[in-house]
Amino acid sequence: DTSEIQEFRIGILGGENAQDRLNNNECLRQKTEDLLGVETKLFAPADYNGVIQGLLGGTIDMAWLGASGYAKTYLSDPAAVEPILVKVNNDGGYGYYSVGFARKDSGITSLDDMQGKTFGFGDPNSTSGFLIPSIEIPEATGATMTSGDYFGEVKFTGGHEQTIVAVANGDVDAGVSWADGLGEWEDGFNSGALRRAVDAGLVDMNDLVQIWQSKPIPEGPVVLRTELPEDVKLKMTGLMASLKSMDAECFYGVAAGEAKGFMPITHDAYEVIIEARKLKSN
């Protein structure tokens, strides 16, 4: 019974303007409140870690994590959360890509040109902004990501947006961010951080070139705190799964763009990412 919980707290990952995130998810909050009959709140911490800590500490009940973020939660406390759903794209897949890019006028066109240059990651807990490229790029270059080994310097810019600006400013010579891999380069793809930057007039894709692309990365799961009462979990799973059919506009906001909907997923889908993450720890 829901009488066990007094409120329901939804965490939203960083990356977009906090207020926009809250606005986009307001309809979900309303629906949850109606469904569960308890006060529902949205929390939008500044970075990925904020939401993850909330899930671990039991102060956040539901969130849509990235794959690496989920892996971190799982590794810290396997019993803390359970994945329930994943966003499925219009084409039926649930992947996206990490895309490496540089300024066109830098003359860099591929990773080969990056020797001795500065390379930028985003958030350490990002799958596309750090985890996957930090594994796949060494495979391509045959060297580690340690500063001075192949790249002159490797830094974290803090997030997808910061990476794009850092590349555009010449602060780093190349960086990685995420994209759905659909649509045109000059538009910054159909969705993703590059597209947002283009829409905001921050960068002109004519000035950038793609230098690398990862294999598909599994979209992160929507997770619920394990300790939630069963019926709350059921209700919330149902709500999220039927969100698109119930309210397409709300779904657009929650899923940050067009997609087919939220489909069930299990922990197994992320074993690879978890292994990858373990590899990156000391």
């Binding site: 303007n17 906090a18 997030g159 600006v165 921050l202 004519n206």
Partner: protein, 456 residues
């Protein structure tokens, strides 16, 4: 002049002074040189030259221009041919279907062309196939997007000026009157206007575009609530959320500072030589103060976020923990400086220990206590802004997110102005309270000595 003669002859004395002055010169030259040398080292270590090269004047222009202006997007979806107009290109700033500002003429039954008048002779036309841009003094640019062939652009004869950026799939033209981007999928015009558009009412509000006079009349006739509601829930500027954010920031500062003061006061006694005879306790208390102070509120925020989750309480607790250390140190220093005479005077009447503290000690340290509390209240308003940016919430989170996502510089400007006002207001308030509460305060001199050295 009957001073006794000394045996030292003047020449010797002059030699002495010469030596003294050579030393003084060396000293007074050495210090500035040292500073200069250090700054030069830092200049090199921080690669200031490289930085100056990398500095992006375009960003500076964007930032400055954006902070006092907004842009209206006119967008054509090249696949469907649909044209939409939106302030800042955001959904919440979108003109309802079929409506547009007067400088945009939407296609209708008679013509298939969207005419965008950028004034001064600049004009963009979205035709059914081709997009044209008339630029006075340059000519007309024609661009035809197609899925197969990219964007085919024709320019007036001559070299391409640097404000045109054209490639196979994309054309971007930037002029003072406005900006045009054409890709295979979309054609988009940005036109800039000064001011913070939709600051009070969004387009969907019935009060949008109304003059002050009319608003006043309406407010007077019972619509004040509705008007306020429309401003308060403005989707574009979100005044309600901003007000809450400011309040949360102040709340963090207030709870944290006052809570720290309340906790630190009794603990401070345990850290003083004159009130705590046990050396070990004294030592331990002081180290605890040093520790919580040394860790800094920001790290406490991260640590406490696990237990308390994101939100203002976590921020307040982080401030509380750090400042307990700071206040503990300040208060214990103040306590060590108390005048023993007053305590003795009270004790000589047969007062009980609690009374001795109350009348012998507390009146002496209240000025230090209050003025430090109020100083920190102001400085913690600033800390709360930063803490909020990490997990807490409040105006700091709004600000950092707005900056990091680099979209709405006018919002950034708005938040910055609000923050500055908020801090200056707290500064003024704490100064006012200090003057009111600590009447006859012994003045700056006392504040400067001893404990008061820890001003933020």
């Amino acid at each position: 002049m009957t001073t006794f003669d000394t045996t030292v002859p003047p020449t010797l004395r002059k030699l002495d002074m010469e030596r003294l002055f050579i030393r003084k010169r060396a000293l007074s030259l050495a210090l500035p040189l040292l500073v200069l040398a250090y700054l030069a080292y830092v200049f090199v270590a921080f690669d200031v030259v490289g930085l100056a090269e990398r500095m992006n004047p375009k960003n500076a222009r964007t930032l400055v221009a954006d902070s006092y202006s907004y842009k209206t997007h006119v967008t054509r979806d090249n696949r469907s041919g649909a044209v939409s107009v939106a302030v800042e290109g955001e959904r919440k700033g979108a003109y309802p279907d079929g409506q547009s500002p007067e400088w945009v003429t939407l296609p209708d039954t008679s013509s298939q062309v969207t005419i965008i008048d950028l004034e001064d002779g600049y004009e963009v036309r979205f035709g059914p196939e081709t997009i044209t841009f008339d630029i006075p003094g340059y000519g007309t640019i024609r661009a035809t997007p197609s899925r197969s062939a990219g964007v085919q652009a024709e320019f007036p004869v001559g070299d391409l000026p640097d404000w045109i950026n054209a490639s196979k799939n994309r054309l971007a033209v930037t002029t003072d009157a406005g900006r045009l981007t054409v890709t295979r999928n979309r054609a988009e015009v940005f036109r800039y206007f000064a001011g913070w558009e939709l600051f009070f009412f969004t387009l969907d509000s019935p009060y949008h575009g109304m003059g002050i006079g009319e608003l006043m009349t309406r407010a007077a006739t019972g619509e004040a609530g509705a008007i306020f509601h429309d401003v308060w829930t403005n989707k574009m500027w979100r005044h309600q959320d901003v007000a809450w954010a400011i309040f949360e920031t102040l709340l963090m500062a207030f709870l944290g500072t006052m809570g720290a003061g309340l906790i630190a006061l009794p603990l401070a006694f345990a850290a003083t030589r004159n009130f705590m005879p046990l050396r070990a306790v004294r030592f331990a208390t002081r180290r605890v103060f040093d520790f919580v102070r040394g860790v800094d509120s920001l790290i406490w925020t991260v640590v406490l976020a696990r237990a308390f989750g994101p939100g203002p309480l976590t921020g307040a607790l982080a401030i509380l923990v750090t400042d307990t250390g700071t206040f503990g140190k300040i208060f214990s220093e103040a306590l060590e400086n108390v005048d023993q005479k007053q305590i003795e005077g009270v004790a000589s009447t047969g007062a009980k220990p609690a009374q001795r503290y109350r009348f012998g000690v507390i009146p002496q340290i209240t000025p230090v206590l209050l003025s430090q509390l109020l100083y920190f209240l102001e400085s913690n308003t600033r800390s709360a802004t930063i803490i909020g940016a990490i997990t807490g919430g409040g105006i700091g989170l709004l600000l950092t997110q707005a900056i990091i996502t680099q979209k709405d510089w006018e919002e950034v400007a708005y938040y910055i102005v609000l923050i500055i006002f908020m801090v200056m207001l707290m500064d003024w308030l704490s100064g006012w309270l200090r003057r009111r509460l600590i009447k006859g305060e012994p003045g700056r001199k006392a504040r400067r000595q001893g404990a008061a050295m820890l001003l933020p």
